[in-house]
Every structure is written in C-alpha cells, then in structure tokens.
Amino acid sequence: MSAEQQERAVRCLVAKVGLDGHDRGAHVIARAFRDAGFEVVYSGLHRAPDDIVQAAVQEDVDVLGISILSGAHNTLVPKVIEGLKQYDAFDDTLVLVGGIIPDEDEADLKELGVAEVFGPGTPMEETIEFIRNNVPERA
C-alpha cells in the first residue's frame, strides 16, 4: 500500500570554504534558494574542504554550491570533489561554484567536474533555473 505522496525537495548546501570572510553573497543566495522552494543548508564561514564534504554527505544534498572570493578555488575545489568521490557521493551531487573565477580557471574547474561557474552579477533566476534543469535524478 503506497497511497502516500512523495515529497521531493531540492536540497542544497551553500558552502564557504577557506579563509575569505565575506558571506553576504552566500546569505543572499541561501535566501533566494529558500524562496525558490529549496531546502538550504548553510555551512557557515571558514570551512575546510573536509568539513564541506562531511556536510554534503550527511545532508545528502542534491546541489553543492561553493562560494569563493579569495582566489583559492584551484586548491580548495579539487579537494572537495576528491572527498565527494571518496564517499561515493560525487556522481549525484551537482557541484556549482560562485565567485570571482578567471576564465582559464573556470575551464579547469569544469574539467574537474564542476557543473557550472557563476560569476558576479549572475541573475539569481539563472542559477535557480540551472539547478532545476540539472539536479541529478535519484533512484
């Protein structure tokens, strides 16, 4: 008997990795995601890549949005992706990066498995639309 309705909600982790201390953008994103009907877990500031992996695995998020303004994306993002793979969680997590990322780095990040990079001034609807269209299907 399965007369119950499924209640699928898109779960996102909005993560701040590393030393940069600016999370206004992350707050704005978290709020916009909430208003779009997503369930948003916010990591808080100054997280190590391992902490982010732990949160992403435990919370079983569909989307991991990493916000980086410090320029350390080339060191930090690969560590996060490596960690997700260790827990067998990479394949069904949509990894996004937001922040100030030079074009050549963007290509490298995408090579690593980042689905999309959103620079400053990206309209919120664009990010939300991208998530809706690309959120991994789960069994």
């Binding site: 309705q5 699928r8 909600a9 909430r34 369930e39 916010y42 695995v57 435990q58 919370e59």
Partner: protein
C-alpha cells in the same frame, strides 16, 4: 491484502534488491547509505517503508534524547556541546535537527549546522537537518524513522532537536526517551509557563544562558512549577488524596498523571497507562530536574549528561521504558494508519473531481459537506467491514 493470514499482523513490506543492498550498507557502517536512507524517509520515496521495516529489528540500542525550546534559547549550541561531550567519553552520536519550512514556498534554511563547530570533521557525529515541510502529523513519523536509521546504524546516542513552537514539534520530541526543555531567562511570567503545553513534556528543564540576568528567577519559577506538577505524589502529601483516588483521576491531567497525561495524548485512560499511573504512586516516579547551563562555554553540560543518563537508568530500572515504548509505538501505528486512510480519502477526492470542484458544488447548494464526506468515506468503510467479516469467517 489477502484475508487468509492472521488478521491482526501483516508481513513486512518486501525490499527491492537495491534497497536491500542499501540496508546492508547502512548496517555495515556506510555514512553514505545512512544519509541516503534518511533522504528516502524524508521524501517518502517508494520502498522507504520496507527499509524502515527492515531496520526495526536492529534498533533499540541508542539512548534517544529530545531537546526542545523556543527559538533563540540556545538549543543548537547546547546540542553541539552535548555531542562533543558524548564523543569525549567514546560514544558515537547522531543528531536530527528539525527546522521550520516556509508555508508559502516550502523552502527552508536549515541553519543549525553552523553551530556544530565542535564537531566538524568528526564523522562519528552524524548531523542531519530536516525541514518540517509543512507536514501535519507526518513530521513525527519521518523524524522517528530517521532516528531508527541512526539507531540501527549503531549510534550510542541520538539527539533530536526541534523548536518547541506547536503541536507538530511536541509530537516530534515525544518520540524521544528523555525530553529536555530549554528555557531562557526572563522568557515570561507564570502565566506564560501555564500556557505553554511544552512544559508538560519535560523530563529535564534547562535554564540556558544561566549567566544572564534573571536566570535565578526563571530557575525558581520552574522549580515551583515542577513542584506543583508533582502535586500529591510525594510522600508527605500522600495522605491528602490517597493513592487510589489519585490513580483514578491521574489520567485527567493533574498531579500524579503528569507523565502519562502529558505524553499519552489521545490514549490517556487506556488500561496500560492507568497501570503506569498506579506504579508511580509507589514513589518510583521521576521528578523533573531543573538545571542551569551556559551552552557557549559548556558550563553545566556534564551535569546535564549525568541527568540524561540518570533518566535513562530510571526508565530501565522502573520498567517505565516498556510503557514509554509501547506508548510511542502505539502513537506511531495510529499516525501511520491515519495517514494511510487520509491518503485513500485524498485519492477518492481526486477521483471525484478534486476538492475545489466539490467545494464549489457545496457552495452552489448542490450538496453539503457531510454528504460529500459520507460519499467518500462510505465505500472505504464498507470495504473494511467486508474484509473484517471475511476474516472472521475464515
């Protein structure tokens, strides 16, 4: 459903091969599998019931502690410190933190994780945020099932954290063995204390932020309330009422019936509960403790854990744990049955053109709400009755 089996007990739902593998992985200690199972529970993914069924026999090992209180009382910070203290003595910990969701969009910001600073990087603290998703009644089932997943995984302690704002949250925290209610200093006068139904469910009251002004007064008020709630159960007052009369009036909600009246909800007055009240008369009952903590610094956390342990020991030694569990499972069964019957009714409403169309027809005076309800529930009732008759004949 086939009517040839024992009428009262059905078979467990069958696991799909993939879900059976998931259950095995969870029991083997895979964090990923645990996280995925909780997601399936939250989403009510088809097959989740079979998973929870399969996990049930592996549960019962964890102490389940519920923490509730108003927003800003410091629950998350305290939970963080509790988790760290449990880890220090070698226990593994699971945490389920429930946050409200927007009634408009269904979205939510699950913010409690930020405060879990003492435990980042420690996978043996499994912290999971859950959104209320506007579920009435369903939330307690979902959280209870998530607790089972953590319990079956092998967590020694499971902490359930929820804002104590309404019935939903009271239901959630009631699924814990031990309930702590967090109060912050100066959070109201006596009348507030009387109003808040949440105060009836506490096994432990914690005045957090005890370094703030007014903490002593709040402690005194709570002590006073606990004392009043205890009423005639203490030895020196016993002659006042006599045990027998207390036992018979206990379920009414005052004095000796506090635990049962507070927790049993709709089942108050059933035979099992009445017996529990009678037992309490022997001076075996638990008197809620009023403690002080400063979650920021960790002051008082050790004493709080000792009190949780003492309450768990009390539940075991007094035999109260059996009554508590029975009550909890009874409530779970009721909730499930209600939800399933409700879902059948919802399907039936859809089949008859949807609730809006039915409402419009009532508005047009074509029919009335009672007639509509009868039309929808009548066939279900007939079917249940028919099945019952067939089973009796077998």
């Amino acid at each position: 459903m086939d009517g040839s089996d024992e009428p009262a007990l059905g078979d467990a739902p069958t696991l799909s091969a993939a879900d059976a593998a998931l259950v095995d992985d969870l029991l083997d200690g895979s964090h990923r599998a645990l996280a995925r199972v909780i997601t399936k529970i939250e989403n009510r993914t088809p097959g989740y019931r079979a998973i929870v069924s399969a996990l049930h026999e592996h549960t019962g090992g964890a102490d389940v502690v519920g923490i509730t209180g108003s927003p800003g009382a410091g629950k998350s910070t305290l939970v963080d410190k509790l988790a760290a203290a449990y880890r220090d003595r070698g226990d593994t910990v699971g945490v389920i933190a429930v946050d409200p969701s927007s009634p408009y969009t269904g979205g939510a910001v699950l913010g409690d994780r930020i405060r879990m600073g003492s435990n980042v990087g420690d996978m043996d603290v499994f912290f999971r945020s859950m959104s209320a998703r506007g579920q009435l009644g369903g939330l307690s089932t979902a959280t209870a099932d998530a607790v089972k997943a953590l319990d079956a995984f092998g967590k020694d302690v499971v902490i359930l954290e929820t804002v104590g704002a309404g019935q939903n949250e009271v239901d959630v925290v009631r699924t814990a063995d031990t309930v702590a209610v967090l109060v912050q200093p100066g959070s109201g006068d006596d009348v507030q204390t009387l109003k808040a139904g949440i105060l009836e469910i506490g096994d432990v009251f914690v005045v957090n932020k005890a370094d703030m002004d007014g903490a002593q007064r709040t402690v005194a008020e709570l002590e006073e309330m606990v004392h009043r709630r205890e009423g005639g159960t203490t030895g020196r007052d016993a002659g006042h009422h006599g045990a027998a009369s207390m036992a018979s009036t206990g379920a009414g909600g005052s004095g000796a019936g506090r635990r049962d009246a507070g927790r049993a909800g709709s089942s108050a007055g059933e035979a099992g509960d009445a017996a529990g009240v009678a037992d309490d008369e022997d001076g075996e009952s638990w008197t809620p403790e009023v403690l002080e903590t400063v979650a920021n610094t960790g002051d008082g956390v050790a004493t709080l854990i000792e009190t949780f342990d003492a309450h768990a020991a009390y539940l075991r030694e007094s035999g109260e744990i059996a009554a508590t569990e029975r009550r909890r499972y009874a409530e779970e069964i009721r909730t499930l049955v209600r939800a399933d019957v409700g879902a059948l009714a919802t399907d039936e409403i859809e089949r008859r053109g949807g609730i809006d169309r039915l409402a419009e027809r009532v508005r047009d005076r074509e029919t009335d709400p009672y007639a509509v309800a009868e039309a929808i529930v009548g066939p279900i009732a007939d079917c249940v009755e028919e099945t019952g008759r067939r089973e009796r004949d077998d």
